[in-house]
Amino acid sequence: MAIQINLDKILEERGMKSNELADIIGITTANLSILKTGKAKAIRFSTLEAICKALDCQPGDILSHNPESE
């Protein structure tokens, strides 16, 4: 998929672990892993909003478009 998730990078920058983020935004670590590995088909606005709030970032910091990986 051309849409890439840069959650790992942001998490590293913020010094936060995946399970901590999962706890804060209220999703399972399994679902967060699906999101991080790019296996997710869609992301809810509410989830995106919670991630942005928890990581103090913009949606564009998490999602990027890379046409070459299509």
Binding site: I27, N31, L32, I34, L35, K39, A40, K41, A42, I43, R44, T47
Partner: protein, 172 residues
């Protein structure tokens, strides 16, 4: 969502009765094959009588009967397995999709084969080709074919639903 309890019961009863008929048909078939003679009921409805057909005709009719009973039993087995799959309360599984498609195809195949056998039996037994295809109830075979097509359509609906469910499960 569990299926109606009578559904599995009725399908199971029909399946085991057909299985019994199939086993008896095999026995009868072997008996005829090794020289046994049987009298078949005349298809002349105005003058119902038992007539003794030639060995060849009896064999052909018995083979048709055996094949048809076997296919009926198998299609009921498929339906039985399908209902058992629904009982697991997990919908849109690949087994259900394949089962619905197979059940539909079997219903259509059996109905068409039954047409052919009915026509051929008449031709073999009493050389009445001019009678053509006869149905006890003219609407019945079409209803069965429609049911078969409906099962195939349902299989496609399930396949589409499975994709939607997968998308929903992968929405975070």
């Amino acid at each position: 969502m569990k299926p109606h309890p009578y559904l599995k019961l009725i399908i199971s009863i029909s399946f085991y009765l057909l299985l019994l008929k199939f086993i008896l048909s095999i026995g009868l078939y072997l008996w005829i094959l090794f020289g046994g003679r049987i009298k078949l009921r005349s298809i002349n409805f105005l003058d119902q009588k038992l007539v003794e057909e030639s060995f060849g005709a009896t064999m052909i009719i018995s083979t048709f009967e055996l094949v048809l009973t076997g296919l009926f039993a198998y299609s009921l087995y498929v339906l039985k397995k399908l209902v058992e799959e629904f009982e697991k309360e997990k919908l849109y599984t690949p087994k259900q999709i394949a089962g619905l498609k197979l059940a539909g195809s079997m219903i259509i195949s059996i109905t068409i084969l039954e047409w052919f056998i009915d026509f051929f039996t008449r031709a073999v037994a009493e050389s009445r080709l001019s009678l053509g295809i006869y149905f006890d109830n003219p609407g019945n075979p079409w209803l069965l074919i429609a049911t078969g097509l409906f099962f195939i359509y349902l299989s496609k609906v399930f396949k589409n639903s499975a994709e939607l469910k997968r998308d929903k499960d992968l929405t975070i």
